[in-house]
């Protein structure tokens, strides 16, 4: 009797394993906020409905830095996820980690995926040594949001925003409003310091078509030196410094939130932030009753406009030595890159689509005509020249370089250093960090 029961149950277990055979894959992402967490979960649910044999376990693992920390801990513990979202500047570290499968390997094996559907800028950023390492997913740039209503009040043409550093500085001054006691009640411009500020610096280098690192930004070989302490870098330091010192710009403090709040509460007329904030800004303008404008990043008048670098994050496949899971992960990745998924993702967040077909479809459906701010964010990227400068830097020491650049800005704003000294200091710190990182490889 017992033997029969045992036999049956063993058979039942075996049968369920063979017929259902669900593969479970782990997907870690860094998209906070209930909207974005839900949106990614919905995409995974849709995928699981189409593929009942695959289960995707979606987990929000904190900020970009937190996700990287958890990824490192998981790799060391021998239990990494199948798919992980890693920030732009983690690219070289991931390549050097020895635990990833370049998505190029999967693409080469799978004729059903057309690599040419990827937006060139996003594809270029994550291609190192001619190989696409990770799948672009949430790509963004910085743009400047401005308050058209306040532009009108200041006597400026809201449909003719500044395009050069010089015009920008002049307009910021005109947009600054002081009360009878000389206290500022409205600033021309606001920005977040910390990581965002260092990111803006990198972008303004690309705007001037200037490199951050040698060896063509570390794309032709491992970068061995930082090369940003030059005229291009100095123009950026001076640009921010002039507005902070003359009181037309306010440093909102570390992170993204403070600067957004200042802009949304209409205490500043212009804000530099990520294109992925476009959803939030459109809603804020509606509830705050002001008219929202979006402009491209300005450039120094004597330097031709280069372009912007793709920021945000990409999706990395981890080598688990389990073909079944790797194939399931690849299937899920292809789903996430599909036109429909990209449209859902882009319209729900403000990140621009990384699939050309998604952009075309949205355009034909009249989405961009109805939502001009979204169009500006996409256009800025598509109108960028594709050069080594706009492909962005690749080095494993990037987090330290960002810390150094932000600290240098702080030293300049607090007048502990001149712009020239601060820039040089940042570059020296960066070189030390790069040398230290490279000595391990």
């Amino acid at each position: 009797m017992w033997r029969k029961i045992l036999l049956f149950s063993a058979m039942a277990v075996l049968a369920s394993a063979i017929f259902a055979a669900p593969v479970t894959i782990q997907f870690w992402h860094a998209m906070g906020g209930t909207d974005r967490i839900q949106l990614l979960q919905n995409l995974a649910n849709e995928f699981m409905q189409q593929n009942p044999d695959i289960k995707v376990d979606v987990q929000y693992t904190g900020s970009y830095t937190d996700t990287m920390t958890k990824m490192i801990a998981a790799v060391r513990a021998g239990n990494p996820p199948d798919l992980v979202m890693i920030y732009d500047i983690g690219t070289q570290m991931m390549i050097d980690s020895g635990v990833v499968i370049p998505v190029q390997n999967m693409i080469d094996k799978d004729p059903s995926f057309d690599i040419n559907t990827l937006v060139p800028a996003s594809r270029g950023y994550y291609t190192v040594g001619g190989k696409l390492y990770s799948m672009p997913f949430n790509s963004s740039n910085p743009v400047i949001f401005y308050n058209k209503t306040l532009f009108e009040k200041a006597g400026l043409d809201p449909n003719n925003p500044p395009t050069t550093f010089e015009e920008f500085i002049a307009d910021a001054k005109k947009l600054t409003v002081k009360d009878a006691n000389g206290n500022t009640i409205q600033y021309g411009f606001t920005f977040g310091s910390g990581e965002p500020l260092a990111w803006f610096f990198e972008q303004f280098m690309a705007v001037q078509n200037a490199l951050l690192l040698n060896n063509n930004n570390g794309r032709d070989g491992r970068a061995t030196k930082a090369v940003f302490a030059n005229d291009a870098g100095l123009r950026i330091f001076n640009f921010f410094n002039e507005m902070v010192q003359n009181g037309s710009a306010i440093n909102a403090g570390p992170g993204w939130d403070n600067a957004r709040q200042i802009f949304i509460s209409q205490r500043a007329a212009m804000l530099i932030t990520s294109t992925s904030d476009v959803n939030m800004m459109v809603k804020a303008a509606q509830s705050g009753n002001f008219s929202l404008g979006v402009m491209f990043l300005p450039h120094p008048s004597d330097v031709p406009y280069g372009g912007v670098i793709v920021g945000g994050a990409s999706l990395w496949m981890v080598n688990t030595n389990n073909t079944q899971r790797e194939e399931a992960t690849w299937k899920f990745l292809k789903f996430l890159e599909s036109t429909d998924a990209q449209i859902q993702w882009s319209t729900g967040t403000g990140y621009f689509p990384v699939n050309k077909n998604a952009i075309i479809k949205l355009l034909y459906e009249g989405y961009y005509a109805k939502n001009p701010p979204y169009l500006v964010t996409v256009l800025q990227l598509l109108m960028s020249n594709v050069t080594p400068a706009t492909r962005g830097g690749a080095t494993g020491a990037f987090p330290q370089i960002r810390t150094a650049v932000d600290t240098a800005f702080g030293k300049m704003f607090t007048k502990a250093m001149t712009p020239q000294q601060a820039l040089q200091w940042a570059q020296d710190q960066a070189n030390q960090a790069i040398a230290n990182y490279n000595s391990m490889y």
């Binding site: 060391r76 570290m93 310091s193 910390g194 403070n258 502990a416 000595s439």
Partner: protein
């Protein structure tokens, strides 16, 4: 024999937990401080004392050590003086004193991160209440979180406020254990209230004060991390980056594990020396009843 083994058996679960969560990581930290390690740990090079050498020759590390010294000294002394003053007031027998005591203690119950967020809101350059008050009262617009030394002062204020409840409660307990007869006797001998504070209250509070100093130094040096992370992220230009915040940045932002381990070891040594000195010399200054 069985008698001798039994107590040890009871200690085993505790010991296992301590070994796994304290001794083993501490041992690893000591070991890793002699290595240069790639972010993912796949490259490991023994470098001897090089991490320590770079620490002490790094201007940024020395700066953050100085910042910590200033921060801890001002916060602990300032915090204790204010707490003692409040405790004296709260020790009075007035109606509704229970409510005041509860209100003063409340900040201690919230987490340092929440305290940081609250203060960041209050000090926000254009939307904060404190900034608004300053504008109305002094017609000034201090930029609390982005200028030096205001950012450091803001962190000090937030930390003092956060720990106030803890200190006040202990001072109150101390005050209430001082027998009323001492004060009566002193009053008869003609001592005024200032004399009574200086000659009776403060000496008799010294054991509590000693305990609070040790606790506060630990609090301030270590748990101010969340407050700093939320309010300034060590900025502007590292002027609010304490040793513990720098350790976090090197270890978990820059992924420089070996270097961060060396910082950790230095921190352990500093705390060990501090604790030893305090228990050796500190107790002589304490007057026990």
């Amino acid at each position: 024999m069985a008698k001798k083994i039994f107590p040890y058996l009871l200690l085993v679960p505790t010991f296992i937990i301590i070994v796994i969560f304290i001794y083993y990581p501490a041992f690893q930290t000591f070991k890793l401080s002699f290595y240069k390690i790639s972010p993912f740990g796949n490259r490991l090079f023994f470098v001897g004392f090089q991490n320590f050498w770079s620490l002490f020759t790094s201007g940024q590390y020395i700066q953050s050590a100085l910042t910590t010294l200033i921060f801890v000294t001002v916060t602990v002394i300032g915090g204790l003086v204010i707490s003692l003053f409040l405790a004296l007031l709260l020790n009075e027998k007035v109606p509704g004193i229970g409510i005041f005591r509860t209100l003063i203690f409340a900040p201690y119950a919230i987490s340092p991160a929440v305290a940081g967020t609250l203060w960041a809101f209050l000090l926000s350059p254009v939307a904060g209440y404190v900034s608004y008050l300053f504008l109305i009262l002094f017609k000034a617009q201090p930029q609390w979180l982005t200028t030096y030394p205001l950012a450091l002062i803001a962190i000090m204020i937030a930390t003092i406020w956060k720990n106030l409840g803890f200190n006040v409660i202990f001072f109150l307990a101390g005050l209430q254990s001082i027998p009323q007869s001492y004060y009566e006797a002193a009053t008869i001998d003609g001592a005024n209230s200032f004399d009574r504070l200086l000659r009776i209250t403060i000496p008799l509070l010294s054991p509590i004060t000693f305990y609070l100093i040790v606790m506060n130094v630990t609090f301030t040096a270590f748990s101010a991390f969340a407050t700093i992370d939320v309010m300034t992220q060590g900025g502007p230009a590292n002027t609010t980056s304490t040793l513990i915040y720098k350790l976090y940045q090197d270890g978990f932002v820059n992924f420089n594990t070996g270097f961060a381990s060396a910082e950790s070891v230095v921190l352990i040594l500093i705390m060990a020396v501090f604790t030893y000195l305090y228990f050796k010399f500190g107790q002589k200054a304490v007057f026990y009843q």
